[in-house]
């Protein structure tokens, strides 16, 4: 995971997994909002998150759906649409069998508005970059940056991970690594006298 905890692009098009990861911890999300991060989604991701029927939604799924709906009511996670022309980008057409439609539409829209895609799948990150979009970020990167900038303190680490795991999400080991990276980066950035 090569990330720079000192930098994070504020405007993000979130794919389905990262929507749930960002919303999984209320502490993480409130710190992100405080840091003026903005998350939007595509119409397809909205469909996948809120419309498409699920076989057996868990209690955690229901909570996350409620959080997303509430946040949309507050103007966050606004849904936008990419155009057919955006989908016809040759690189995306070539990758269409390798990426989920949510990832595909998020990349297409992020390319169009020249903003970051936030996705927590390693393969999606690589495929997005292969498809011509280099500005790809992750939820652990967001966490690391919030730690580095002091929007989250040491005592928040445990809470963020606990809240994240309570929502049945599986990024805990990556949050741990991201935390260490933020500390290292912080140490390296202190001017030595």
């Amino acid at each position: 995971m090569a990330i720079d905890p000192s930098k994070f692009h504020l405007i993000n098009v979130a794919d389905t997994c990262s929507v749930w990861n960002v919303l999984s911890s209320q502490r993480l999300y409130s710190a992100a909002k405080e840091a003026r991060c903005d998350f939007c989604i595509t119409e397809f991701v909205r469909y996948e998150c809120l419309v498409k029927p699920r076989k057996a939604p868990s209690a955690a799924d229901d909570k996350l759906i409620k959080r997303l709906t509430t946040e949309q009511g507050r103007g966050a996670f606004r849904a936008h649409a990419c155009s057919i022309d955006d989908l016809q980008a040759i690189e995306l057409l070539e990758k269409r069998n390798r990426l989920g439609k949510g990832e595909l539409s998020s990349i297409a829209f992020a390319m169009k508005i020249r903003q970051a895609v936030i996705t927590d799948d390693q393969k999606a990150r690589r495929l997005a970059s292969d498809a011509g979009h280099a500005l790809v970020q992750t939820t652990p990167h967001l966490f690391s940056w919030l730690m580095f900038t002091g929007k989250l303190g040491d005592s928040d680490k445990v809470l963020v991970i606990q809240q994240h795991e309570e929502m049945d999400q599986d990024l805990a080991p990556h949050f741990e690594k991201a935390y260490t990276m933020a500390l290292e980066c912080k140490l390296n950035s202190v001017p030595r006298g």
Binding site: E103, K123, A124
Partner: protein, 380 residues
């Protein structure tokens, strides 16, 4: 690149008609306003890219089909199927067929990407006696897969996948349909076996569809029924192939004299061969080992349900695992296919979002599936 809206709208409407869904239903299931859907179908409004993706997800086809002239979806094949047999497919069955075709397309893509594409079995029939075609092809396929006259393939599904057919078992509501064969423009030869039926009948049906793949691969699509409708020699040939593949005549000839069998003996042999007594009775008569009367008697017998073995639901599974896997198998998710999907994800061929789509699941449901199949989703 300009889009022909009329053509795009017509494709969407045809898909909706094939699945027998109303505009209101599609609207409710996709979140797209029904009025807007009508406009799109009429070619009066241009859909957004996201709407195209949502509709492709709903209709389970490659979205490129909607925005290009490429024949990337088996639309003509299903059209042929429903023109000829439309009354036999309920709305739920049509959805099942659509899912089956989606699985075939995904399987073909993943196999190619992982370098696991199977070599298609080819057979050139000689003469005009179609029953003999079936016998000879069964012999040739058994030989190609290294089976001697006295060996019976245990996992026929695996055998036919190795012979280049995308084979899925899927629950169909119409219990008279045993299976169907579709020549997919991208995936190639695809066979569906009706999972609603008895385990050993499914085995025979798989072999029957394999015969269609060998002999009738040039046809767009065909449906097989348990109760044949009229005398179709292609169906006779497919049945003969299935019989000879599962019960080679040379093997039957070596059995203790079937004329002296008790009913229990007949049931035992059917069980050993993993075929129904019905199929065994017919095969013995064809081999002239029993007369019509005894054949009919054997055909009426039954292998007890709990004695039947499904190679795709092995005994080694716990009861809970077995139940869950059986439910997934009914949807077409075989061990083979699920393993292929997870391998493709692990090898970096597909993303986690695509993995979820391939497994007909949401990303949130993936962890449960991974655990059931002994896989891990680490590697973000």
């Amino acid at each position: 690149m300009g889009i022909n809206l009329a053509m795009l709208g017509a494709k969407l409407k045809k898909y909706r008609d094939q699945l027998q869904e109303s505009v209101a239903e599609v609207g409710a299931l996709t979140g797209i306003d029904a009025g807007r859907l009508e406009q799109i179908e009429a070619g009066a409004a241009e859909p957004t890219g996201d709407e195209i993706l949502i509709l492709a997800d709903h209709f389970q086809c490659d979205f490129k089909f909607f925005i290009s002239n490429e024949r990337v979806a088996p639309f003509e094949q299903t059209d042929t199927l429903y023109r000829a047999h439309g009354q036999d497919f309920t709305k739920a069955d049509r959805r099942a067929v659509q899912e089956f075709l989606y699985l075939c397309e995904t399987e073909a893509f993943l196999m190619a990407e992982l370098g696991r594409s199977a070599r298609e079995f080819e057979f050139m029939p000689r003469g005009t006696y179609m029953k003999a075609h079936g016998e000879e092809a069964a012999h040739a396929l058994r030989a190609a897969h290294g089976y001697g006259d006295h060996e019976v393939p245990r996992d026929v599904y695996d055998e036919f996948r190795k012979a280049g057919v995308h084979l899925f078992r899927r629950h169909l509501g119409n219990s008279d349909i045993s299976g169907l064969f579709i020549n997919h423009p991208v995936a190639g030869k695809c066979a569906l076996v009706n999972y609603s039926e008895d385990v050993y009948r499914q085995r025979f049906s798989a072999a029957h569809e394999m015969a269609h793949a060998i002999f009738d691969g040039d046809e767009q699509a065909s449906v097989s029924y348990y109760s044949p409708r009229g005398k179709d020699l292609r169906e006779v040939r497919a049945n003969r192939f299935a019989s000879c593949f599962l019960m080679p005549p040379a093997f039957l000839a070596g059995l203790p004299n079937p004329r002296r069998w008790s009913d229990d003996d007949a049931v035992n042999w059917a069980s050993k061969l993993r075929v129904s007594c019905h199929a065994l009775g017919i095969a013995l008569r064809e081999a002239q080992l029993v007369d019509d009367f005894r054949s009919q008697q054997i055909q009426q017998l039954h292998v007890p349900r709990d004695a039947k073995i499904d190679p795709e639901l092995p005994e080694s599974l716990t009861e809970v695992q077995r139940e869950r896997k059986a439910r997934l198998l009914q949807l077409g998710l075989s061990d083979f296919y699920v393993g292929l999907c997870f391998d493709a994800w692990k090898e970096g061929v597909i993303s986690v979002g695509r993995l979820a789509e391939a497994l007909l699941s949401s990303p949130a449901e993936l962890a449960g599936l991974a655990s059931l199949y002994g896989r891990s989703l680490h590697g973000h």
